[in-house]
Amino acid sequence: MSTQIYIVDDNVAFCTSLKWLLSANNRQSTVFNSAEDFLQNYDGKKGCVLLDVRMEGMDGISLLSELKNSDFALETIIITGHANVGMAVNAMKLGAFDFIEKPFDDEILLNLINSAEISLTQKLKNIQNKQQTILLWQTLTKREKDIAKQAINGKSTKEIADFFDISVKTVEIHRSRILKKIEARNIAELVSKLSAIIANLD
């Protein structure tokens, strides 16, 4: 899957050369010469950001921090003229996908971009799955939601029956209905799906 590539670097000559290099590899890219430029003009498409750290005005780490708090479907690869451990740790903490030093072998960069795109796809798929689960969750009745919450807290059928003062049989009926509605094959899958949207469980 080919996604958009965004180059954010204040060195114009480097940006032009990188854009050209990517085009030679049949990859299209958009150049932004500052972090502010990117925030203003980013088209919102999913993609991969090739980000310089030290730039005039807003620096790369600040932009990374902004992106982390946004809903943008982006993976970021830090490209820097020099790296230090602290900066690398900081960048990774802020969710950067990886780190590459200038000058670099184009194959290495292209491989990194590919990996980032695979990671992004997975991430997006997870988001999509989560959204799907949230929709499915809403189809549950009040009683089913209560029982499901007990189930993901690790309670056994017997415990749930005692808690709600209903029979084990009734709990089992509810449980199979919940599995069906959430499209889970078993309790383990249900727990996994619901845990991912734990914040959205009303």
């Binding site: 050369s17 290099l21 030679a24 030290r54 003229g81 020099h82 602290g86 000058p103």
Partner: protein, 489 residues
């Protein structure tokens, strides 16, 4: 040869007594009333002899002395016959004079005490001088300075207790026994030079005494004076500065260490800047050459061109590798992460600036939320951050040429972060940001540029942020936020 003596005849005796400059008096036992007294009494006490005859001498003694004379002297005179004593006696003018009297008892054949003969002279001048000396001596003894009197031959004639504590008993020793010869030369030079004509040299000469390894004394004054025989005497005033010297040396050593580290870090930072600046064009060259190889319309045209492009790409990557290796070599000391008290570190750094700040009339004060705020990180590098920022502040204050320079360092815990603020009342940064400052300084002498870059690199390495706060008045305020607590290596 046998010598014969003639007894003095009565007339001669009378003549001697009448004309003696000493007071000669005869007293009766008991109240020591004057039975006879010569004219010399007038010069001593202002009384004519006839004014005193029949009067009890006891009534003229100073009250403080009368008791001891009555209780101690008189019985001794009665028992042993002769005694000499200094005491005060009333003058006609109402004041007292110090006199020294020798009393002798005269007895009859049966041993009964008949009378007491006294010979007295005025010793007020001597006693006053002695008292003066005693006062002076007590001051000299009590002072914490070393006081050493040397005679013409440079032998010690007096030393106070402080000298004794260091050197032991050295009275009579030559100065050559106390100091090594090269130090003696320096001291002698000072003794013999007298530019001001005051017979006094003041200054500071630090000397290490012979065979007292740890001791350093600082001679502060040498006074030359002449005794009654017009011989030169010297008084040396000095101070034991051994502990001060040790402390100064420790600070100097620390400064040297810090300076050497500063240089290394400046080199490493320069290498980083160089790497950054060179890697940009290298990356561009590599991109174009790699790109040319990939763009079929270029690469298929000319096999030789393709080969050249390949070489260019390889060479630029190689250059990048060389820069990376160079940086690794010049990086010097790697980050060493420990848990340390930032407040303590700050105080140590301020101590390093003590002399410099005092000389420039700059006050550096620390304001800590509490005295132990711990940071996980590289204490040596963090020390450089503080040093560079304080140096910048001092430079900024100097540029302003003010007399009330002020630098404040405050450290506080803000949630999971440590906030370090360094403010000063120097020329300030204007409204510039950190990156603008770096860009600005890169074009100038570069001193502060590198210093500031080191600060930024270290703060970044500690996952912190640095920013310039808008100062309330004029001056500058730099804020550094660091994650609190221990960072795992």
């Amino acid at each position: 040869m046998q010598q014969t003596y003639n007894h003095i005849n009565d007339d001669d005796a009378q003549f001697v007594i009448e004309n003696s400059s000493d007071v000669i008096s005869v007293h009766r036992p008991g109240d020591w009333a004057y039975l006879t007294v010569n004219k010399a009494i007038f010069h001593l006490l202002g009384f004519m002899p006839e004014e005193l005859l029949g009067k009890a001498a006891l009534d003229y003694f100073h009250p403080d002395d009368a008791k001891s004379i009555r209780d101690k002297i008189m019985p001794i005179v009665y028992d042993k016959g002769v005694y000499t004593k200094q005491y005060r006696i009333k003058h006609k003018d109402g004041g007292y004079r110090w006199i020294e009297s020798t009393h002798r008892s005269v007895r009859d054949e049966k041993g009964n005490l008949l009378k007491i003969i006294s010979v007295s002279r005025d010793v007020s001048a001597r006693i006053e001088l002695e008292n003066e000396y005693r006062n002076l001596a007590s001051v000299v003894q009590k002072t914490s300075d070393l006081v050493l009197f040397l005679n013409q031959d440079l032998q010690v004639t007096y030393n106070n207790i402080i000298v004794r504590n260091i050197f032991g008993e050295i009275i009579g020793d030559s100065i050559n026994d106390i100091f090594p010869s090269e130090e003696i030369q320096k001291i002698l030079t000072l003794m013999t030079q007298d530019d001001s004509g005051t017979n006094k040299w003041s200054g500071s000469l630090r000397v290490a005494p012979e065979n007292r390894n740890e001791k350093i004394i600082e001679i502060r004054e040498i006074i030359e004076r002449h005794n009654s025989k017009n011989q030169s005497e010297f008084i040396l005033l000095a101070r034991d500065v051994s502990k001060i010297v040790v402390a100064e040396k420790a600070i100097e050593d620390e400064k040297r260490k810090v300076n050497s580290l500063s240089r290394k870090m400046a080199i490493a930072e320069t290498a980083t800047i160089l790497a950054h600046e060179l890697n940009q064009p290298l990356a561009t060259i590599a991109n174009y050459s790699n790109g040319l190889l990939k763009h079929e319309k270029y690469s298929q045209q000319d096999a030789q061109l393709t080969e050249i492009m390949g070489t260019i790409a390889d060479q630029s990557n190689l250059a990048g590798e060389i820069i990376k290796r160079l940086r690794t070599t010049l990086r010097g000391r790697p980050y060493q992460i420990v848990n340390f008290n930032l407040c303590q570190l700050c105080e140590q750094v301020v101590l390093l600036f003590d002399d410099d700040a005092k000389a420039k009339k700059i006050k550096i004060c620390c304001e800590f939320e509490n005295s132990s705020i711990y940071l996980g990180g590289d204490n040596i590098q963090m020390q450089q951050v503080l040093i560079n920022l304080i140096s910048n502040s001092i430079a900024a204050i100097e540029k302003k040429s003010i007399d009330n320079g002020f630098i404040k360092i405050s450290i506080a815990n803000i949630g999971d972060r440590i906030k370090l603020i360094i403010s000063d009342n120097g020329v300030g940064f204007g409204n510039k940001t950190i990156s603008e400052l770096i860009a600005l300084n890169q074009n100038q002498d570069g001193e502060m540029g590198i210093g500031l870059r080191i600060v930024i690199s270290v703060v970044e390495a500690h996952q912190g942020r640095i920013s310039i706060l808008k100062p309330i008045n004029d001056g500058a305020e730099v804020e550094i936020l660091l994650p609190a607590g221990y960072i795992k290596p």
